[in-house]
């Protein structure tokens, strides 16, 4: 198997992951900052990467910073914040062309690392606050982002499902933050939070591409050092799951043509658990592929939907089903989806299908590992879960899953919430 091998090194204030690989014509550098999920922090952590990525002391306007990136053969810098189980992760991603393919002698990687360090550790400030103009503009952008979540019905329905399902759990906190918190936030507040963030978040840096290992390590040592004031954040927050007495059904209305039917289940299984591999096979058979029960029954047999699928959250222990249906087909679609869960529990699938699904899951995993960013996401599961499982092991463990283990998983999965976003006129009344 040609899975890129990871070399992990403890550095001052962070962990460095070096992944030499001949697969790519570029070099990817990803810095991941992890903290707990706290409601007070959500808005700040949504805004922070947006502000940081706009200017530094050395490149003091968004345009100057972008021009510096552009000079490095259009190096790309992006950032985002996501929830991973009950952790919050801010990622900065940089992708730079590999010098080997250019008729040019610029030390691209070195300059790119220098620039990334500048963005993270040397932001543009004045009088103990972020630059006012940049801060205000980004604040506006975030405000708009929060209000326009409603324009994308699929994400909106998903957010409403989680709002209702995980009401009492940190996982329900909104990743873009809250308008009321945003309004109050000042450039000084955010800078104050930045200082906490930059010293206490757990930092992992991944570098992947076709390069010389020791040279890359030397460059990292030269440009990447971090003053870390505390080390108590290395503990991953364990996900809490409430007991479900009875599942709930929530119907909301909106202006739309197609109803969005989303179901949330508790899997009670997370990355690193022994039955995590059985969960992957369960998901594959149930709704992960075009050969799965959801696709075959909701779409192919009953023509109710264009998409009907499921996916699982590896660190929170959720399985989510989503489908777009005509508002009037609510009852029928819901019944068919729940029948598929029942069929999984009864083991209505063959050994052969289990074997095929393993191949599909492995294929998917290997394909993801062929992409630089994909491989980093897979490897980062280890940091999130605290379970050090090598990429190759992840693949191998899937092979050992038995049909009975998939049935056991089906029995373990509990329906929590059915959420339906429907049209003003129609359906489900």
């Amino acid at each position: 198997m040609k899975i890129t091998k990871e070399k992990m090194l403890e550095k001052k204030g962070y962990r460095l992951h070096i992944l030499p690989s001949k697969k790519y014509k570029t070099i990817n550098i990803v810095a991941k900052f992890k903290s707990d999920l706290k409601k007070d922090w959500m808005t700040k952590r949504a805004l922070l990467p947006m502000v940081l990525q706009k200017a530094t002391q050395n490149h003091s306007s968004p345009r100057q910073l972008q021009s510096a990136l552009e000079n490095l053969y259009g190096t790309i810098l992006s950032s985002d914040g996501t929830k991973k189980g009950e952790n919050h992760v801010i990622s900065f991603r940089m992708e730079v062309a590999n010098e080997a393919y250019l008729n040019d002698q610029t030390p691209l990687l070195e300059e790119a690392l220098h620039l990334l360090h500048d963005v993270l550790f040397n932001p543009k400030t004045e009088n103990g606050a972020f630059d006012e103009k940049i801060f205000n503009r980004e604040k506006q952008t975030l405000e708009q982002k929060i209000t326009s979540i409603k324009d994308d019905k699929m994400s909106y329905a998903n957010m409403r499902l989680i709002d209702n399902m995980c009401k009492e759990e940190p996982y329900s906190y909104h990743v873009h933050g809250y308008p009321e918190d945003l309004e109050k936030l000042t450039a000084a507040d955010l800078y104050e939070y930045y200082q906490t963030f930059i010293t206490t978040d757990l930092l992992d840096v991944y570098v992947i591409g076709d390069f010389d290992e020791s040279e890359t390590e030397r460059l990292m040592d030269k440009y990447f050092t971090r003053e870390q004031s505390s080390n108590d954040t290395n503990i991953t927050q364990n996900s809490t799951t409430p007991n479900i007495d009875e599942s709930q059904e929530i119907i909301e209305q909106d202006e739309l043509n197609q109803g969005k039917l989303h179901l949330g289940f508790r899997t009670h299984t997370t990355f690193g658990d022994e039955d995590y591999y059985a969960l992957q096979i369960f998901n594959g058979l149930f709704g992960g592929f075009p050969s799965s029960k959801l696709f075959m029954n909701v779409r192919e047999k009953h023509s109710l939907a264009y998409y009907a699928a499921s996916r699982f959250e590896s660190h929170k222990g959720l399985l989510l089903v989503f489908s777009g249906i005509a508002p009037n087909d609510y009852d029928q679609a819901k019944t068919i989806i729940l029948e598929q869960v029942e069929a999984m529990r009864k083991g209505e699938f063959s050994e052969e299908e289990v074997e095929q699904t393993k191949e599909l899951v492995i294929n998917q995993l290997l394909e993801t590992m062929d992409s630089a960013q994909g491989l980093i996401e897979i490897l980062y599961h280890q940091v999130l879960s605290g379970h050090m499982i090598e990429a190759e092991e992840l693949v191998n463990n899937i092979r050992y899953v038995s049909k009975q283990e998939v049935i056991d998983m089906a029995a373990k999965i509990e329906l929590d919430t059915i959420y339906f976003l429907t049209s003003k006129e129609g359906g489900a009344q």
Partner: protein, 430 residues
Amino acid sequence: MKELVYDQLKEKIYTETLDNGLKVFLLSKPDMVKTFGIFATDYGSIDQTFTPIGKNEKVSVPEGIAHFLEHKLFEKEDRDVFQDFTKQGASANAFTSFTKTAYLFSATSNIEKNVETLLNFVQDPFFSDQSVEKEKGIIAQEIKMYDDQPDWRAFFGTIQSLFHEHPVRVDIAGTVESIEEITKEDLYTCYETFYHPSNMTLFIAGNFNPEEMMKQVKDNQNAKEFADTPSIQRSYPEEPETVATSYGKIEMPVTTSKCMVGIKEKVAGLSGRELLKAELLSSMILSHYFSKSGEFYEELYENDLIDDSFHYETDLDRQFGFTILGGDSRKPDELAERVKEMLHQLKEREIAEEDFDRMKKKKIGQFLRAMNSMEFIANQFSHYHLLGIDLFEVLPEIESLTTKDANEFLKDWINEERIAVFQVIPQQAG
């Protein structure tokens, strides 16, 4: 079998046109685990009026039929082809664009079998009245899903403002009404006209032995019988150079308005290389002024006319071409006016040598990044091939562009009569 060697990119392509006319391209990537195959026909949503094989008269088929046909090729009398790929550990997919229909798989094992399945299912149609009826419900939901997406509506609204008659203005999936009319006979007519091997390309990239792969493809094709190579008579309406409507809008339940500015590009008479040059220059110029490092972007952003959703794209084809810029805006009218003014200003601009060097570097970096993806290579190679462009010659082509080329392009690019504005605005209450 020919070998095309690209030293700078360290890539090698093996190619051959088979006896039945099928063009095969193989890219061996031994470092990758995955193999990706794409089997594409030069037939898309714009090919609505044509003379069917063996007939003398033109017919017009219902809107959305190329896409409908794409869905139905996966269904056979006794099975669904997705299952065949599943059994072989592969994932399969397909898409229909304005000018192409493509079938693809990716796999990390059973490569030979999966290639066989790809070739065989596309070349063995089975359409029945019953299965055609069944698909209508599924595609109707696909259409409704897009109807709820404001970005898609803004994109298509812009295309419809730009074009008077050309079928590029018809939604690729058709409408709920138009797909109702589709019959299995229509599907066979389109299939027989457009799926002859001579109208198709096969591109496989990944981890395999190219000699053996070529032999396998040849053996597969030689074992099948095809009619003589047809010449396909397609018919497109006369399309004026100017836009259909310079301003259009729709209301939707959105919280933020969307505003797009479209440019109808001149493509008539452009050959492959000229087309590539125009595409490179327009995308480089857009990126110079309207990407995050551009002066126009900076001004629009600071004045709160745009946000992160601002984007631009250029699509040039044999039949049509367009550029679209825009995104969410709280002041959609002001944005439209300002972008139009900026575009007009370009005529008087002179790009400096030093700036152009930076533009080239950026484009080269972007190209190398894209070349990491086998999907990109396979899709783009097939797309360019139909236009007479070699994807692997793009890098030297970028390097050879001069400041003079850019400045000449700028002078002639923008014309008021070829600009249209389209907006999606929040629905009025009540």
